[in-house]
Symmetry: C2
Subunit: 153 residues, 2 copies
Amino acid sequence: MSLNNDAVSAQLSAFFQAHLPITQFMNMDVEKYDGQTLTLSAPLAPNINDKQTAFGGSLYNAAVMACWGMAYLKTREAGIECNQVVTKGSIEYKAPVHGDIRAICHAPSKEVIEQFIEHFKHKGRSRITLNATIECSGKTAVEFEGTYAILSE
Amino acid sequence: MSLNNDAVSAQLSAFFQAHLPITQFMNMDVEKYDGQTLTLSAPLAPNINDKQTAFGGSLYNAAVMACWGMAYLKTREAGIECNQVVTKGSIEYKAPVHGDIRAICHAPSKEVIEQFIEHFKHKGRSRITLNATIECSGKTAVEFEGTYAILSE
Protein backbone atom coordinates (compact mmCIF):
# COMPACT_ATOMS: atom_id res chain seq x y z
CA MET A 1 0.00 0.00 0.00
CA SER A 2 2.82 2.46 0.73
CA LEU A 3 3.74 3.07 -2.92
CA ASN A 4 0.09 3.69 -3.68
CA ASN A 5 -0.18 6.08 -0.71
CA ASP A 6 2.83 7.97 -1.97
CA ALA A 7 1.46 8.10 -5.49
CA VAL A 8 -1.96 9.44 -4.52
CA SER A 9 -0.53 11.94 -2.04
CA ALA A 10 1.81 13.21 -4.78
CA GLN A 11 -1.32 13.68 -6.94
CA LEU A 12 -2.92 15.72 -4.16
CA SER A 13 0.18 17.86 -3.76
CA ALA A 14 0.30 18.44 -7.53
CA PHE A 15 -3.39 19.40 -7.46
CA PHE A 16 -2.72 22.11 -4.86
CA GLN A 17 0.17 23.45 -6.90
CA ALA A 18 -1.72 23.44 -10.17
CA HIS A 19 -5.08 24.79 -9.04
CA LEU A 20 -5.02 26.61 -5.69
CA PRO A 21 -2.67 29.60 -5.66
CA ILE A 22 -3.58 30.46 -2.05
CA THR A 23 -2.20 27.10 -0.86
CA GLN A 24 1.11 28.03 -2.53
CA PHE A 25 1.20 31.36 -0.71
CA MET A 26 0.46 29.49 2.53
CA ASN A 27 3.25 27.05 1.61
CA MET A 28 0.79 24.26 2.44
CA ASP A 29 1.71 20.74 1.44
CA VAL A 30 1.07 17.09 2.16
CA GLU A 31 3.24 16.08 5.08
CA LYS A 32 2.09 12.49 5.44
CA TYR A 33 -0.51 10.07 4.15
CA ASP A 34 -0.56 6.46 5.30
CA GLY A 35 -3.97 5.44 4.00
CA GLN A 36 -5.65 6.22 7.33
CA THR A 37 -4.39 9.68 8.25
CA LEU A 38 -3.67 12.70 6.08
CA THR A 39 -1.56 15.51 7.52
CA LEU A 40 -1.22 18.86 5.76
CA SER A 41 1.35 21.30 7.05
CA ALA A 42 2.02 25.00 6.56
CA PRO A 43 4.69 27.17 8.19
CA LEU A 44 3.66 30.00 10.49
CA ALA A 45 5.30 32.91 8.62
CA PRO A 46 2.90 33.42 5.69
CA ASN A 47 -0.05 32.46 7.92
CA ILE A 48 0.67 34.72 10.86
CA ASN A 49 -1.69 37.19 12.54
CA ASP A 50 -1.30 40.26 14.74
CA LYS A 51 -0.73 38.08 17.83
CA GLN A 52 2.16 36.21 16.17
CA THR A 53 0.04 33.07 16.11
CA ALA A 54 -1.65 31.34 13.17
CA PHE A 55 -4.42 33.35 11.49
CA GLY A 56 -7.89 31.79 11.93
CA GLY A 57 -8.49 31.88 8.18
CA SER A 58 -5.29 29.93 7.51
CA LEU A 59 -6.24 27.38 10.17
CA TYR A 60 -9.60 26.96 8.42
CA ASN A 61 -7.91 26.61 5.02
CA ALA A 62 -5.56 23.90 6.31
CA ALA A 63 -8.39 21.99 7.99
CA VAL A 64 -10.87 22.29 5.10
CA MET A 65 -8.18 21.04 2.70
CA ALA A 66 -7.09 18.16 4.96
CA CYS A 67 -10.66 16.81 4.81
CA TRP A 68 -11.00 17.74 1.12
CA GLY A 69 -7.74 15.87 0.55
CA MET A 70 -9.01 12.79 2.38
CA ALA A 71 -12.13 12.70 0.17
CA TYR A 72 -9.90 13.23 -2.90
CA LEU A 73 -7.55 10.40 -1.92
CA LYS A 74 -10.34 7.96 -1.12
CA THR A 75 -12.07 8.58 -4.46
CA ARG A 76 -8.78 8.21 -6.39
CA GLU A 77 -8.00 4.99 -4.51
CA ALA A 78 -11.39 3.72 -5.67
CA GLY A 79 -10.53 4.63 -9.26
CA ILE A 80 -13.08 7.45 -9.40
CA GLU A 81 -12.44 10.73 -11.22
CA CYS A 82 -15.02 13.28 -10.11
CA ASN A 83 -15.69 16.88 -9.28
CA GLN A 84 -15.51 17.55 -5.58
CA VAL A 85 -16.72 20.54 -3.60
CA VAL A 86 -17.05 21.55 0.04
CA THR A 87 -20.67 22.34 0.90
CA LYS A 88 -20.41 23.20 4.61
CA GLY A 89 -17.70 23.85 7.16
CA SER A 90 -17.66 24.58 10.86
CA ILE A 91 -14.66 25.31 13.01
CA GLU A 92 -14.02 25.89 16.67
CA TYR A 93 -10.88 27.67 17.83
CA LYS A 94 -10.10 26.34 21.29
CA ALA A 95 -6.56 27.65 21.73
CA PRO A 96 -4.07 29.68 19.69
CA VAL A 97 -1.58 27.88 17.42
CA HIS A 98 1.87 29.27 18.20
CA GLY A 99 3.92 27.53 15.53
CA ASP A 100 3.56 25.79 12.21
CA ILE A 101 0.11 24.55 11.24
CA ARG A 102 -0.44 20.79 11.02
CA ALA A 103 -3.99 19.77 10.09
CA ILE A 104 -4.84 16.11 10.56
CA CYS A 105 -7.79 14.26 9.06
CA HIS A 106 -8.40 10.66 10.09
CA ALA A 107 -10.19 8.49 7.55
CA PRO A 108 -13.69 7.48 8.64
CA SER A 109 -14.51 3.77 8.95
CA LYS A 110 -14.19 1.47 5.95
CA GLU A 111 -18.00 1.14 5.95
CA VAL A 112 -18.52 4.91 5.70
CA ILE A 113 -16.05 5.18 2.82
CA GLU A 114 -17.62 2.20 1.00
CA GLN A 115 -21.07 3.76 1.36
CA PHE A 116 -19.71 7.09 0.03
CA ILE A 117 -18.14 5.36 -3.00
CA GLU A 118 -21.05 2.96 -3.70
CA HIS A 119 -23.60 5.78 -3.59
CA PHE A 120 -21.52 7.66 -6.17
CA LYS A 121 -21.31 4.61 -8.42
CA HIS A 122 -25.09 4.21 -8.40
CA LYS A 123 -26.24 7.82 -8.40
CA GLY A 124 -23.35 9.78 -9.90
CA ARG A 125 -23.19 11.88 -6.75
CA SER A 126 -22.42 11.37 -3.10
CA ARG A 127 -21.66 13.22 0.11
CA ILE A 128 -19.44 12.68 3.13
CA THR A 129 -18.75 14.49 6.41
CA LEU A 130 -15.17 14.52 7.65
CA ASN A 131 -13.31 15.92 10.65
CA ALA A 132 -9.91 17.47 11.12
CA THR A 133 -7.96 18.74 14.10
CA ILE A 134 -4.99 21.02 14.56
CA GLU A 135 -2.87 20.54 17.65
CA CYS A 136 -0.54 22.87 19.47
CA SER A 137 1.75 21.76 22.32
CA GLY A 138 0.04 18.40 22.52
CA LYS A 139 -3.52 19.65 22.90
CA THR A 140 -6.32 20.16 20.40
CA ALA A 141 -6.33 23.81 19.34
CA VAL A 142 -8.78 23.59 16.44
CA GLU A 143 -11.69 21.27 15.67
CA PHE A 144 -13.16 21.27 12.17
CA GLU A 145 -16.02 19.45 10.49
CA GLY A 146 -16.76 19.71 6.79
CA THR A 147 -19.22 18.19 4.34
CA TYR A 148 -18.07 17.39 0.82
CA ALA A 149 -20.03 16.47 -2.29
CA ILE A 150 -18.71 14.56 -5.28
CA LEU A 151 -20.35 14.69 -8.69
CA SER A 152 -19.73 13.03 -12.05
CA GLU A 153 -17.41 15.09 -14.24
CA MET B 1 -20.49 60.33 10.64
CA SER B 2 -18.97 59.78 7.19
CA LEU B 3 -15.53 61.13 8.09
CA ASN B 4 -15.53 58.86 11.11
CA ASN B 5 -16.58 55.88 8.99
CA ASP B 6 -13.78 56.62 6.58
CA ALA B 7 -11.27 57.00 9.39
CA VAL B 8 -12.13 53.72 11.13
CA SER B 9 -12.33 51.79 7.86
CA ALA B 10 -8.87 53.14 6.95
CA GLN B 11 -7.66 51.79 10.32
CA LEU B 12 -9.10 48.37 9.46
CA SER B 13 -7.45 48.39 6.05
CA ALA B 14 -4.13 49.37 7.65
CA PHE B 15 -4.55 46.54 10.17
CA PHE B 16 -4.91 43.97 7.37
CA GLN B 17 -1.81 45.33 5.63
CA ALA B 18 0.28 45.43 8.78
CA HIS B 19 -0.68 42.13 10.37
CA LEU B 20 -2.26 39.62 8.00
CA PRO B 21 -0.02 38.71 5.06
CA ILE B 22 -2.59 36.29 3.65
CA THR B 23 -5.09 39.13 3.16
CA GLN B 24 -2.44 40.89 1.07
CA PHE B 25 -1.95 37.82 -1.10
CA MET B 26 -5.76 37.65 -1.47
CA ASN B 27 -5.73 41.36 -2.35
CA MET B 28 -8.55 41.75 0.16
CA ASP B 29 -9.55 45.26 1.19
CA VAL B 30 -12.34 47.35 2.65
CA GLU B 31 -14.67 48.28 -0.18
CA LYS B 32 -17.27 50.17 1.82
CA TYR B 33 -18.24 50.98 5.38
CA ASP B 34 -21.19 53.23 6.11
CA GLY B 35 -21.60 52.54 9.82
CA GLN B 36 -24.19 49.82 9.19
CA THR B 37 -22.66 47.63 6.51
CA LEU B 38 -19.06 46.56 5.97
CA THR B 39 -18.09 45.14 2.58
CA LEU B 40 -14.73 43.48 2.01
CA SER B 41 -13.71 42.64 -1.53
CA ALA B 42 -11.08 40.45 -3.14
CA PRO B 43 -10.49 39.76 -6.83
CA LEU B 44 -10.94 36.24 -8.19
CA ALA B 45 -7.42 35.66 -9.58
CA PRO B 46 -5.42 34.98 -6.38
CA ASN B 47 -8.46 33.24 -4.86
CA ILE B 48 -9.32 30.91 -7.73
CA ASN B 49 -9.82 27.14 -7.57
CA ASP B 50 -9.74 24.28 -10.07
CA LYS B 51 -13.26 25.13 -11.29
CA GLN B 52 -12.28 28.74 -12.08
CA THR B 53 -14.53 29.92 -9.26
CA ALA B 54 -13.61 31.29 -5.83
CA PHE B 55 -11.85 28.82 -3.51
CA GLY B 56 -13.93 27.87 -0.45
CA GLY B 57 -11.08 28.82 1.88
CA SER B 58 -10.86 32.30 0.40
CA LEU B 59 -14.63 32.72 0.72
CA TYR B 60 -14.31 31.76 4.39
CA ASN B 61 -11.42 34.18 4.89
CA ALA B 62 -13.38 37.06 3.36
CA ALA B 63 -16.48 36.29 5.43
CA VAL B 64 -14.65 35.70 8.71
CA MET B 65 -12.81 39.00 8.26
CA ALA B 66 -15.94 40.95 7.29
CA CYS B 67 -17.46 40.00 10.65
CA TRP B 68 -14.14 40.44 12.43
CA GLY B 69 -13.93 43.87 10.82
CA MET B 70 -17.43 44.79 12.01
CA ALA B 71 -16.50 43.90 15.61
CA TYR B 72 -13.25 45.86 15.21
CA LEU B 73 -15.03 48.93 13.86
CA LYS B 74 -17.73 48.90 16.53
CA THR B 75 -15.17 48.64 19.36
CA ARG B 76 -13.05 51.45 17.87
CA GLU B 77 -16.15 53.63 17.44
CA ALA B 78 -16.81 53.08 21.17
CA GLY B 79 -13.24 54.17 21.97
CA ILE B 80 -12.18 50.67 23.04
CA GLU B 81 -8.74 49.24 22.28
CA CYS B 82 -8.79 45.48 22.86
CA ASN B 83 -7.59 42.12 21.69
CA GLN B 84 -10.08 40.40 19.45
CA VAL B 85 -10.25 36.78 18.33
CA VAL B 86 -12.62 34.57 16.39
CA THR B 87 -13.76 31.61 18.51
CA LYS B 88 -16.13 29.80 16.14
CA GLY B 89 -17.11 29.96 12.49
CA SER B 90 -19.60 28.11 10.35
CA ILE B 91 -20.12 28.49 6.64
CA GLU B 92 -22.52 27.14 4.08
CA TYR B 93 -21.63 27.16 0.41
CA LYS B 94 -24.93 27.36 -1.48
CA ALA B 95 -23.65 28.22 -4.96
CA PRO B 96 -20.27 28.86 -6.62
CA VAL B 97 -18.89 32.41 -6.79
CA HIS B 98 -17.88 33.04 -10.41
CA GLY B 99 -16.25 36.44 -10.05
CA ASP B 100 -14.69 38.71 -7.47
CA ILE B 101 -15.49 38.02 -3.83
CA ARG B 102 -17.57 40.58 -1.95
CA ALA B 103 -18.30 39.68 1.68
CA ILE B 104 -20.96 41.76 3.42
CA CYS B 105 -21.56 42.02 7.16
CA HIS B 106 -24.55 43.99 8.40
CA ALA B 107 -24.22 45.49 11.86
CA PRO B 108 -26.51 43.89 14.43
CA SER B 109 -29.07 46.06 16.23
CA LYS B 110 -27.91 49.04 18.29
CA GLU B 111 -29.03 47.13 21.41
CA VAL B 112 -26.84 44.12 20.62
CA ILE B 113 -23.81 46.34 20.03
CA GLU B 114 -24.46 48.31 23.23
CA GLN B 115 -24.70 45.08 25.21
CA PHE B 116 -21.44 43.84 23.63
CA ILE B 117 -19.65 47.07 24.55
CA GLU B 118 -21.18 47.47 28.03
CA HIS B 119 -20.31 43.90 28.99
CA PHE B 120 -16.70 44.59 27.99
CA LYS B 121 -16.61 47.79 30.03
CA HIS B 122 -17.79 45.95 33.15
CA LYS B 123 -16.03 42.59 32.77
CA GLY B 124 -13.01 43.28 30.57
CA ARG B 125 -14.26 40.71 28.10
CA SER B 126 -17.24 40.24 25.82
CA ARG B 127 -18.53 38.15 22.95
CA ILE B 128 -20.66 38.71 19.87
CA THR B 129 -22.05 36.58 17.04
CA LEU B 130 -22.13 38.15 13.58
CA ASN B 131 -23.23 37.09 10.12
CA ALA B 132 -21.89 37.69 6.64
CA THR B 133 -23.03 36.77 3.16
CA ILE B 134 -21.36 36.59 -0.21
CA GLU B 135 -23.54 37.04 -3.26
CA CYS B 136 -23.07 35.99 -6.86
CA SER B 137 -25.36 37.11 -9.69
CA GLY B 138 -27.86 38.58 -7.25
CA LYS B 139 -28.33 35.50 -5.10
CA THR B 140 -26.76 34.40 -1.82
CA ALA B 141 -23.87 32.05 -2.59
CA VAL B 142 -22.34 31.88 0.89
CA GLU B 143 -23.77 32.23 4.40
CA PHE B 144 -21.38 32.65 7.32
CA GLU B 145 -21.79 32.99 11.06
CA GLY B 146 -18.91 33.70 13.41
CA THR B 147 -18.45 34.32 17.13
CA TYR B 148 -15.85 36.81 18.27
CA ALA B 149 -14.40 37.49 21.71
CA ILE B 150 -12.80 40.73 22.88
CA LEU B 151 -10.44 40.91 25.84
CA SER B 152 -8.60 43.69 27.64
CA GLU B 153 -5.14 44.27 26.19
